[in-house]
Every structure is written in C-alpha cells, then in structure tokens.
C-alpha cells in the first residue's frame, strides 16, 4: 500500500497548482506522451504538465527517497531513532558550499559547490573520528557535531560579509525548495541518488544485525568496518546530491522512517523500501502544498516541519510508549 502512495501523490500533484488542469487531462497528456501520438501536443497544459510540474514532482520524489532512505540507514547504524541524515555534517557543508558560490563565486553552480562541500564535510567527520584506528558510533556523532558547528560558523562569516540581496538568496536556498526544477536536475539527481541508494537497498537486511551494536554484529559475522563505510558512504552520496538540487530540507529523513517504523515494525528488510516510498510521497505532498497554498512558492522545508510536527505528535500519542521501541 505504502509503495504506491508516491504515484498517487505524484498524480495529485500534477493537477494541483496555479494553472488548473483537470485530473483527466493529466492522464490524457501522460498517456499521449507515452504512446507518442501527435494529438494534444500543442496545448499549454502539455507544457505545464510535462516541462514544469512533472520534473518538479519527480525531483521532489527523488529527494524524498534520498533523505528518507539515508535517514533510515543512519538510524539503524547509530541504533538511534532520532538520528537524521544530516548528523554527519552534510547540511552544514552543503550550506557553506552554497554560501561560497552565491557570495563569492557566482560562476560556479550552487549545485556543484554544495555537493562538493557536503561530501567534504562527511569525509572530514569520518577522518576525525577514525584517528584512533577503529571507527565507532559515538566518535562519529561527536565529530559530526564538531564539523557541523565549524562549517555553520563559516557560513555565518560569509553571510555577514556578503551584500543583502545575496544574503537573501543564501537564506532562501538554505530553507530548501524545488522551484528551480528542470529535467537536467532530474537526470543528475536521479543518477546520483539511485547509484547511492542501490547498495543500501540491496544490503538493507544487514542493517538489522548492524543495529545490534558493533561487537555483537562482529560476532554474528558482519564485517562491521567495511559495511559501515558502504552504508555511510552510499547514504552520504545520496543526501549530498539531494541537498545540492533542493537545499536543506529538514524533518523528512528523521520523521518518515520513524513513522513507517511505527506502522510496520523495525525489520529493515521492509522498513527501508517503505521508508523510501513514504519519503517520496511525503515530499511530493509537501511540495504540492508549498507551491499551491499561496501565490508564492513557499520553501518546502517550512512545509515539511509545519505538516510533519503535528502529525508526528498525533502518531506519538496514538502509538504510545511502545512505538518508541521500548
């Protein structure tokens, strides 16, 4: 059931918007393009659906998959349901990349700098935590906090130095938005996110054993060091790509896996795919609200928090203490 929600959300998202297109028309246009008939090819609806809304919906879905998929992975590795995909400093790194690009190097695209700095932040976090040989959870989280703090301070310096209109676009980017979506971004994000999350998806069952803690995972026969590098590397790649095309969208990577866990239980074999699907659906849904609620394109990060927080509270009350894993 959860697996088809992204498609329902996507279809809904296609006919909701400033320009009214009927649900039937959406289906007609999509079908027409699949069978490539010339009929209906020159109406404005077609351009709106295929060139504006569809790439945006797909991009939102992809980013949702990336954030939620890596959220659930890192929660498993760190044995903590409160971990989000930004815990290793990706968001702070990407933010600095964006700030530098907007502030000082406008000739380099924001997507590139934020990706490079996001990845650099994770690598730094990993290197710092592994100075004592073995990489384990607590040092990783601590280094993530340190790196985040450091990069955030650098972002503040840039913000302080740049002109006000540039400051505005940095701030806007940091709130996360899909307003710049086009097919080119969809291709980049699609390739990166699928490449990143494929190993996670294939290895998902092993997260069960990984979540038992390092020593226990080792005695069960897990090559903890190797698998930790794969899981962290793969999910960091996916998240960095997601952040580079959409800015920093909070809440999804923390909340969606948690919600899915409450609904279907903690077994990663089903939890990972369903979290990915749920993340896509939630992100498409949130983005649709963001662009159609008012005449402005509200940053979607604001919507995810506004929609997410109360829903989370509701489920928490309903599920009671048990759903928290105790």
């Amino acid at each position: 059931m959860v697996l088809i929600t992204p498609f329902i959300a996507g279809w809904l998202a296609l006919f909701i918007g400033a320009f009214n297109v009927s649900p039937v028309m959406v289906l007609k246009i999509l079908l027409n393009d699949i069978i490539q008939s010339p009929y209906l090819s020159n109406i404005p609806e077609r351009a709106i659906i295929l060139d504006i809304r569809l790439p945006r919906v797909i991009l939102a879905g992809l980013v949702g998959i990336a954030l939620s998929g890596s959220g659930v992975t890192l929660q498993g590795i760190f044995r903590n349901p409160l971990v989000d995909p930004f815990i290793l400093g990706i968001s702070a790194g990407a933010a600095l990349g964006c700030a530098l690009s907007v502030g000082f190097f406008p000739q380099i695209p924001v997507q590139l700098t934020s990706f490079v700095f996001g990845v650099a932040a994770v690598i730094l976090t990993y290197t710092i935590s592994s100075t004592q040989g073995e990489v384990s959870r607590l040092p990783l989280i601590l280094s993530g906090v340190i790196i985040s703090a450091f990069f955030t301070a650098m972002v503040s310096i840039v913000k302080f130095l740049v002109e006000p209109h540039k400051l505005q676009s940095i701030v806007f980017w940091l709130m996360g938005s899909f307003s710049l979506s086009d097919w080119r971004l969809v291709k980049i994000a699609g390739a990166g996110i699928i490449a990143g999350l494929l190993p996670v998806f294939l290895m998902r069952w092993r997260l069960n054993a990984m979540s038992m803690g390092e020593d226990e995972a080792k005695t069960l026969g897990v090559n903890v060091r190797r698998e930790m590098i794969i899981f962290i590397g793969a999910s960091s790649l996916a998240v960095s790509i997601a952040v580079s095309v959409s800015g920093i969208i909070g809440w999804v990577g923390l909340m969606v896996p948690h919600l899915v866990r409450m609904l279907i239980g903690p077994d990663h074999k089903t939890l990972v795919p369903l979290s990915m699907a749920g993340g896509a659906a939630f992100m498409i849904f949130a983005d649709t609200i963001a662009r159609s609620l008012t005449d402005f394109d509200i940053p979607v990060g604001i919507i995810t928090a506004i929609v997410g927080a109360p829903f989370f509270v509701y489920l928490m009350k309903k599920g009671g203490r048990e759903s928290w894993g105790r």
Binding site: E216, V222, G325
Partner: protein, 278 residues
C-alpha cells in the same frame, strides 16, 4: 575441540597483563564453565576467543587450527556467541532477531532465503519458544529473551557456543530453565559449549568441566567436584565457605559472619552459630 593455549592479554596503555597464560580446552557435547570472581579475566578470555580482542601471546585452536586471525565472517560460522543481556535498539520480532544469526550465511547484497527462514524457525522450535515467534523480543521476559539469543546462536550453525553469564539477569526459575536448555542443546547437538558463571552452585550442578580462574590465572580445572572445593573457593573468593554433600551431590554454602552484630543476645547468637555449622 577448542583449545586455549597460554594466552596473555594486556590492554593498551596498561602495565599489567589481564590474562597471564590462560590454558584449557573444551570438547563437544559437554558444558565447560569458566568460574571466577569479578575481574578474574573470564570475560577477557571470552573476548579473545570471540576475536574482539587480540591476545598478545598464545593461541586459540579449533580442531587444531589457529582461529585468532580469522575474519569475522568466517569466525561466525565456527563460533556463536550469546551475549549478556543487552538493551535492544529496536523492537524486532523474535523471528527477525533469530534470523540475524544467519547473517554470515547470507551474501552481502541479498536478503535471507527460504532456507534461512527455515533454519531460524528450527532454532526457535528447538529452544521451545515457537509461540513467541511474532512477538517483539523487547516484550518477552528476561528468561525468554535469553532463549531467543540462544536460538539466534543456534541459527548460526556453529560448532562452538559461547555464553557470557547466561543467568546473570534471571530469577531462580529462569536460571534453571535456561541452564537445562543449554545442557540439552550441548548433549543433543554435540556442541562445544563454553560459558561463564558467577554462581559456584550453578556451576557445580550444570557443568561437565569447570575452569576456575582468578586474577588472570587458571587456578584449577577438571570435573566440578574436583575443582569446586572449599580450599579453592576460599582462596579465590576470599570468604569462608562450606561444601556440603547431600544425596550424592555437592552444594556450596557461604558461612555468614555474625560476630559483629551486638544487638543479638549472646545466647541466641551461639545457637544460630551452631545451626549454620551443621
């Protein structure tokens, strides 16, 4: 046969060896118990056998082959470990928890097969908790959870099973249930079972061989009746104990020090003293 040959272990940065030439062996179908006070090195021996810590000297042999440098994936097919009760991060179902024992049999990029499920269910059945299969293993009793972990070790299909304090968090009834189950498994599956215990009485009742440790040394090893003696217990635990023979079995009873309690009248105190000596 599992042989531990003269292992020495020292933590980085520390001066003194934790293990000073520990040597013993354990054979299939029998329960070998490591007995000793806190800090005697039992758990360190376990961690060395499990491969989590590397001994600086000595070797650990399984069927005459040195296993101290095996990678974890291969070691898991030889050694299954039942940890002391742990705080589980997520409420996995009993079946999912036991299935984790198959991780060394499932290749990196795939999920468990029908056969792996079959093995997990078989293990659950053999410890007698099939009725709990779908339950969250965070919501079963301490004794049942210990059985879940034992089933997980069985699903691993390793010839050696290590149990670290399998009874330490259990009440009286569950201690007996779990230890009986372990004995049954050792007998029927012919596993080499090595466990650590705190309680000399339980060690006396349930083990085939006992290795008594103190301060990083093996003090004595052999049959329980020969190892768990008054003299050995006194020297290791530094308290006064009596070993009582009753119906062909031996029981250990600590002598209670009552000389310092001044509230009890002298007469009563002497009577109590006599009772305990009997």
């Amino acid at each position: 046969m599992l042989e531990v040959k003269g292992i020495h272990f020292r933590h980085q940065h520390l001066e003194e060896d934790v293990l000073k030439g520990v040597e013993f062996d354990a054979v299939g179908g029998e329960i070998t118990t490591l007995l000793g006070p806190n800090g005697s090195g039992k758990t360190t021996v376990f961690k060395c056998i499990a491969g989590l810590w590397k001994p600086q000297r000595g070797e650990i042999l399984f069927n005459k082959k040195d296993i101290s440098n095996l990678p974890y994936e291969k070691r898991a097919k030889m050694l299954a470990i039942v940890p002391q009760e742990h705080e589980p991060p997520f409420p996995y179902s009993v079946l999912d928890a036991v299935l984790m024992g198959r991780v060394s049999h499932v290749s990196l990029f795939s999920s468990p097969s029908k056969y792996d499920y079959f093995k997990a269910e078989e293990a659950i059945e053999s410890v007698g908790i099939s009725h709990l299969k779908e339950k969250a293993y965070t919501r079963v009793s301490g004794g049942e959870r210990q059985l879940v972990l034992i089933a997980r070790a069985l699903a691993q299909e390793a010839p050696v099973m290590l149990l670290d304090e399998p009874t330490s968090h259990l009440d009286f009834r569950n201690q007996v249930i779990v230890l009986n189950k372990i004995k049954e498994i050792a007998r029927y599956k012919g596993l080499i079972v090595l466990m650590t215990l705190h309680d000399p009485n339980l060690a006396m009742l349930f083990s085939d061989k006992v290795v008594m440790m103190n301060n990083g040394h093996v003090i004595s090893k052999g049959f329980p009746q020969e190892v768990i003696t008054e003299d050995n217990l006194k020297s290791v635990y530094m308290i006064d104990v009596s070993v009582i023979n009753w119906c062909g079995k031996k029981f250990i009873c600590p002598r209670i020090n009552q000389s310092k309690d001044k509230i009890i009248p002298a007469k009563v105190r002497i009577q109590m003293h006599d009772k305990i000596l009997i």
